[in-house]
Symmetry: C3
Subunit: 302 residues, 3 copies
């Protein structure tokens, strides 16, 4: 996939994954650039609902002057038996140049990129459990704003349901690419992957022990279906073991940054005090999301 998203001169053609993406891949600079995409059509093509991510891309594309088309593939002709590939090829024939694609299956966006025509660019807005590259980019930008440009001295802990999280896998790729000093991963055994996803990480299930001296905490969202699946006994117990409150945060490194991809389950992953406190970078992540998506769209389509 890495090869597929870069052209022969190393220029980004699609953005499918951060896995293997070179550290120095050129990406456009952030700014309020009306008309960069004036007259270009960008389609948000979502095979799985996500109002928030869609809105972030929608605003980013509008701010670059693009015509934006929302195509909700879960309520459209895909229901009439059309394949995802035909949906893409049709919208491409209608003149859409950029596609922002969310899909429940791993690799689905890369498969669509493989059939896309010359001049068409795809951005993976999250597929399966593996990839959500713009989330990774915005998380790294936020870490840099919070902790400075030297990632090699940084200690980061990722907390929660790593097993089912494309955010975690994406951040792991990005943190390794940036040469982060130490990556810790913490969560209940039932929510940690048993493959080589965590290679090189310090792994454990005792949150209090894993907190000491970290510069940043990347809290993952706990999907409620994990309860129904029996992977987590209860929200209360999860919060007691893995919830971030002010007492725990005090044990982390000085001014440790708290990140969360949203939407937050308040009182589960983090308490209100932490979510709204001075060490929370959550809304900065959201703001960075639009900036990063503008930069990606400009790089691919500008």
């Amino acid at each position: 996939m890495t090869a597929q998203q870069l052209d022969d001169s190393g220029r980004l053609r699609h953005l499918l994954t951060l896995e293997g993406l070179p550290r120095d891949t050129p990406v456009g600079r952030v700014g309020n650039k009306r008309h960069v995409l004036g007259g270009s059509a960008v389609c948000t093509l979502f095979f799985e609902p996500s109002t928030r991510t869609r809105s972030s891309f929608h605003l980013a594309a509008q701010r670059l002057g693009a015509d934006v088309l929302n195509f909700d593939a879960s309520t459209s002709s895909t229901r009439k038996g059309e394949t995802a590939c035909d949906t893409l090829k049709n919208l491409e024939a209608m003149g859409v140049r950029g596609f922002v694609v969310r899909h429940p299956d791993d690799g689905a966006v890369a498969a669509l990129a493989a059939v896309a025509g010359e001049g068409t660019a795809l951005v993976n807005a999250g597929d399966g459990r593996s990839s959500h590259p713009t989330q990774g980019l915005l998380d790294m930008l936020t870490l840099r704003q919070a902790k400075g440009p030297d990632f090699s001295k940084m200690k980061v802990v990722i907390v929660g349901d790593v097993k089912h999280s494309r955010v975690a896998r994406t951040d792991l790729h990005a943190l390794r690419t940036l040469g982060v000093g130490e990556i810790r991963v913490c969560g209940p055994q039932s929510l940690l992957p048993d493959d080589d996803t965590l290679k090189g990480c310090v792994v454990g299930d005792d949150f209090d022990a894993m907190l000491e001296g970290v510069d940043a905490l990347m809290m993952l969202r706990l999907q409620r279906e994990r309860m129904e699946e029996g992977l987590v006994p209860s929200l209360e117990q999860y919060h007691a073991q893995y919830g971030l409150n002010t007492a725990r945060l005090a044990r982390a490194g000085k001014d440790a940054a708290v990140l969360h991809p949203g939407p937050i389950n308040r009182g589960v992953e983090v308490t209100d005090e932490v979510a709204d406190g001075p060490q929370s970078w959550v809304l900065r992540q959201v703001a960075n999301g639009v900036a990063v998506r503008m930069a990606v769209l400009e790089t691919l389509l500008g």
Copy 2:
């Protein structure tokens, strides 16, 4: 709330309610002003569906050159347990400056305005049973166009389900602020409020008696659930007692203006003859709605 929506110099900061809003609050002048909001993002944030009101605001914001984002909060991450407040703060972090908010609960929009950041403006597009300020403004503009600028000589009757109507409460505030000569309120006892909403109004349940000499009739929509709740025996009986037909309209003042917030239940609140007749101002209300919303958005964001 009045204090909250005005800044120290009396300038409108949010529009939350007409209750207590000074008569001479400055509001932008109507016009076709492309680029007034060029590059600004406006979000329609609806926690309760209303395609018509949303469309009116959407067209108003587009006509001012804004980027418009529709955020349907009933099918989004709010379902994933996110609070309305977090939804607002997230969209604000994405760069949205103006929010048009509809919510089923009284005071919900004011509560959101209380947490909004500097530079963010909210317009209440209807919340609970209490407030729908742009409807009140467009109704007053329509009354003025129909009957001239001297409200002190005007007799107005409000007819129907006042108890559950934010339109009625809003119009009552506006009519009082403008010093309307006489306000009559008419409907079945089961649909009239028993608190001090109707203070100073002439109240009665005999429509024919209440019609005499009025300059304007503000007909309220009858929600079908009032039947299921047993508050109204049947549509037929409601129409017989409170439906406006040409015979009844002839009994009102000369050229009395007929208003209805829409959508009309034809044959229930008004007959086809009246709805489409020369004394109907219903479509003028709709046109005024876009003009008023443009003026409000320009005042708050321009």
Copy 3:
């Protein structure tokens, strides 16, 4: 209806049907013309869902610089009992100038055009079983690109569920207007109309026999509900008798063009080899759809 869509000087005022539309009706020329509709509001008003057709019109209107409003009439106040006519008049009062209307009932769009005000234009985006004029126009444009401007020498076969197809009826009107040499119609008896729709056509149910020497094949989509209605025994049997595969295509005229209005049921109406093969004009139809809709919108509103 023909009279209704032309004004006294023969200029197109609405586009409701191709039936009886003169061959030389002037329509704007295709091009990338930003600002032609700058500041005009166009509403896609769909009383029946069709994401694909709606998207095509949406992109066409955006490319002309229009403000586009999607009004999904199946989930809006029409559900609250509002008539289609009131919905139209309301949106018109809000300043919408162009309406793209899809409706399940025959003649519904013409009925709406009859009540529309001066200066408002309607485009029929498909109603009932009778009319889908922009589909007809894009099909004719595609035929011309594929087979040249002399329609009089062309042999065309329409295949499938003609009985329930507005595409077929529309194409029949257009093919006759253009003086196509021979029109063949092929499908199971249960899916062929028994009125005078097929007057002048060569009709038969043996696909292999009807293929010989045709210049173009217009394959119709098979709705799955035809199975439930007992009109077709099974998809497999339909495909065996009326599915277009490479073997059959070889029996048609040299370089015969394959058209399909989409979305394709792959393996039912056509095989993958044919759909993606060199004789498929399906994606060109889609591209032509946007161009034709731009031309129509410019003609009606520019």
